[in-house]
């Protein structure tokens, strides 16, 4: 009887996984940056869900914001002989050596969400949103909304040297170029965290005449915007009307702020990067089809008119 049950179970499992039989014994290592923002946590959750759905054995390593931890994790994945590696790199530089080691071991590496400076034959493909495009969408929204009015913008940058910080800044500047009424008056790093976002915004408010000279805040992620919104409120100003707030990522908490009229717009960075990455890996491992070097996800703009309350309800269970 026991043997029969085991057999039945085995058959059932075989039947369930038959659709992706080659994936059943696929092992993928995933070196995640950490969970410095809600978005990152959602990406981790969705990656784990995707792996489970496809029957992929996912080895997860949290690097706690440190590149040396990521390099260690990748080396250990190589030593374990995984079939593929997913890497969300914490900074853009310094990856050549370890990517070459993966290449020598014939393990394809897929970059998630962020890019690296290394030559593109060192990795299979990169899945991500076009970071510069996100900044452009945010900048375009601001330009469209202020019209001909003069607008002094303060910018909360991401971690210094990280590719989202560099590219979201460049994209935004591209969108406001040629509109002389919109200019960035202050720009400082808020390290993508709420605490620093709040602290830096406090100093911006002090430096710009108690905030009266600031027309808009552009934050490289929603978490810094959430921190900054608190600083604006504590300074006795109204975020969303006295100071326009536009940010990037579209995490649930910013929709709450939008529903209360405290934030104006956010550009979505979808946390489901693993889906396209696994698709590309499965095809590549099956018949060696080389995917495009960059697989771009959509950058959708949400504003207060997009029923933020409903979007919040939809997003809050995604694991943000």
């Amino acid at each position: 009887m026991t043997r029969f049950k085991t057999l039945a179970g085995a058959v059932a499992i075989a039947a369930l996984t038959a659709g992706s039989a080659f994936a059943a014994d696929m092992t993928v290592g995933f070196s995640q940056i950490g969970s410095e923002s809600g978005w990152r946590a959602a990406e981790t959750t969705l990656t784990k869900q995707q792996a489970e759905k496809r029957g992929i054995d996912l080895k997860f390593a949290d690097a706690q914001q440190k590149q040396e931890n990521q390099i260690k994790a990748i080396r250990s994945f190589i030593a374990q002989g995984v079939d593929a590696i997913l890497l969300a790199p914490v900074v853009a530089t310094g990856w050549d050596q370890v990517l070459e080691e993966a290449k020598d071991a014939e393990i394809p590496v897929v970059l998630l969400d962020r890019q690296v400076d290394s030559s593109d034959d060192l990795y299979l493909t990169a899945v991500g949103s076009d970071l510069e495009h996100e900044g452009e969408v945010a900048g375009q929204w601001l330009v469209d909304n202020v019209g001909d009015k003069d607008c002094n913008v303060v910018e909360l940058q991401g971690t210094t040297g990280s590719s989202p910080a560099i590219k979201r800044k460049a994209g935004f500047e591209k969108a406001i170029a040629g509109h002389d009424n919109v200019k960035i008056v202050r720009s400082q790093t808020g390290d993508f965290t709420r605490t620093k976002g709040k602290e830096v915004m406090e100093s911006f408010l002090k430096a710009e005449n108690g905030g009266k000279d600031i027309c808009a805040l552009y934050a490289h992620n929603d978490d810094m915007a959430v921190g900054a919104i608190q600083a604006i409120k504590e300074a006795g100003l109204k975020p969303g009307s006295d100071i326009l707030v536009v940010s990037i990522d579209a995490v649930p908490d910013i929709f709450l702020a939008m529903a209360e009229g405290e934030a104006n717009a956010t550009v979505e960075l979808t946390p489901d990067m693993a889906g396209p990455a696994f698709d590309a890996l499965e095809t590549y491992l099956k018949d060696g089809t080389q995917p495009e070097k960059f697989i771009q996800t959509e950058s959708k703009l949400y504003t207060q008119s997009d029923d933020p309350k409903a979007v919040y309800e939809e997003k809050k269970n995604l694991g943000y």
Binding site: G34, S35, E36, S37, G38, A41, T44, D62, Q64, Q65, Q157, T160, G161, R186, S187, Q188, T189, D191, T193, R194, T195, K198, E199, V200, E202, S203, F204, K206, A207, G210, D223, V226, G227, Q230, E234, A235, G236, D253, G319, Y320
Partner: protein, 344 residues
């Protein structure tokens, strides 16, 4: 009787603080402005006092630990644990009192763990506390399940952003705890006993001091301070961020103690000095933010200023000053100078 001596003890730190504040005033017009708005004082100076609160709180406990010739690397991680515990309890509908008591209890427990490793297992403090520094952030992430736990309890939020008579509550917290700790250690023999352990633990034990219990108490005090700092940091952003709360703050706290003129070799300590040290560090941070330099320069500028302060404070430069001041009879004066005035 102690006031003139205490003041003389922290004079170099006060001078450094005023020089940096003067620099900030030169860089940012309106730096010294303080206004009263929305029921609280508002201005860059208030920001320094308020933003410096977590490091100031940590520095109080760290001063005591360092006075015993120890070090507590775990305080940043303990902050993260306590912030996470507070957020988890309050979002599970526990009362504010239960949340605060339990959170502070957890902080003290973390301190007792460190203290036990140091006092009874004889593990070197830097290693003993490194264990919790590494593991603590993981524990905090387990508590928050990897997300930023947000809460809306007005009582808990008050700890981080409320104000009493216009003064931000975190500022009141660190000043009150600082004064209480100073009184406790300076009006009783406790301070002397702690210094004795720092100078020679074995001799203190032979002299009849309960070194084990005292070490446990000192690390527990550090855990307590970290717990309060953790609650303040979480309440400030209305959420517990296990990954970033208190990140690297143990180093800022150690720096505050050193900039405050305390020796890492233990022995004599000054809590007032450490608190001024914390304010020096925060003044540098705030000044950099107000200056409007590109963020790439932040850490370099901070490092350069700290180096200057430490060089000016170093025993070598004291000897040099003394040498030029008392040229005719330089030797004895120089030898007794480096921050080691007679007992209080």
């Amino acid at each position: 009787m102690t006031i003139p001596t205490t003041l003389r003890r922290v004079l170099p730190q006060l001078v450094a603080l005023f020089v940096i504040l003067a620099l900030n005033t030169a860089i940012a017009p309106g730096f010294l402005d303080i206004a009263y708005a929305n029921g609280r004082l508002y201005g860059s100076l208030i920001d320094i006092l308020n933003r410096g609160a977590p490091v100031a709180l940590l520095a109080i406990g760290m001063t005591l630990v360092i006075a015993t010739k120890g070090i507590d690397l775990s305080v940043g991680a303990v902050m993260a644990i306590c912030g996470a515990v507070a957020a988890a309890l309050i979002t599970n509908d526990h009362s504010l009192a239960v949340t605060l008591v339990a959170t502070i209890g957890i902080g003290i427990l973390c301190g007792l763990w460190n203290g036990a490793l140091v006092a009874f297992l004889g593990i070197q403090p830097i290693i003993a506390t490194l264990i919790l520094m590494v593991a603590g952030r993981g524990i905090a992430q387990l508590v928050t399940e990897g997300v930023i736990l947000t809460f809306n309890d007005p009582g808990l939020i008050f700890v981080g952003t409320g104000s009493v008579f216009g003064i931000p509550f975190p500022v009141i917290l660190w000043i009150v705890i600082g004064i209480a700790a100073s009184l406790l250690f300076r009006t009783t023999a406790l301070g002397l006993l702690v210094e004795a352990i720092g100078i020679n633990r074995r001799a203190s034990m032979l002299a009849g001091i309960g070194t084990g219990a005292l070490l446990m108490a000192v690390y527990a005090a550090s855990g307590f301070c970290a717990a309060v700092a953790g609650i303040v940091a979480a309440a400030d952003i209305r959420g517990a961020d296990a990954n970033n709360a208190g990140l690297w703050l143990e180093l800022d706290a150690i720096l505050a103690v050193v900039v405050g003129g305390n020796s890492l070799m233990g022995g004599r300590f000054s809590i007032a000095g450490s608190l001024i040290g914390a304010m020096i560090i925060q003044s540098v941070n705030t000044g950099i933010l107000l200056a409007g330099f590109p963020p790439e320069f932040n850490l370099v500028i901070k490092a350069a200023i700290i180096v200057v302060i430490l060089v000016v404070q170093s025993p070598a430069s004291h000897t040099l000053f003394a040498f030029f001041r008392h040229r005719p009879r330089s030797e004895p004066a120089a030898a007794s100078e480096p921050g080691k005035e007679a007992a209080q």
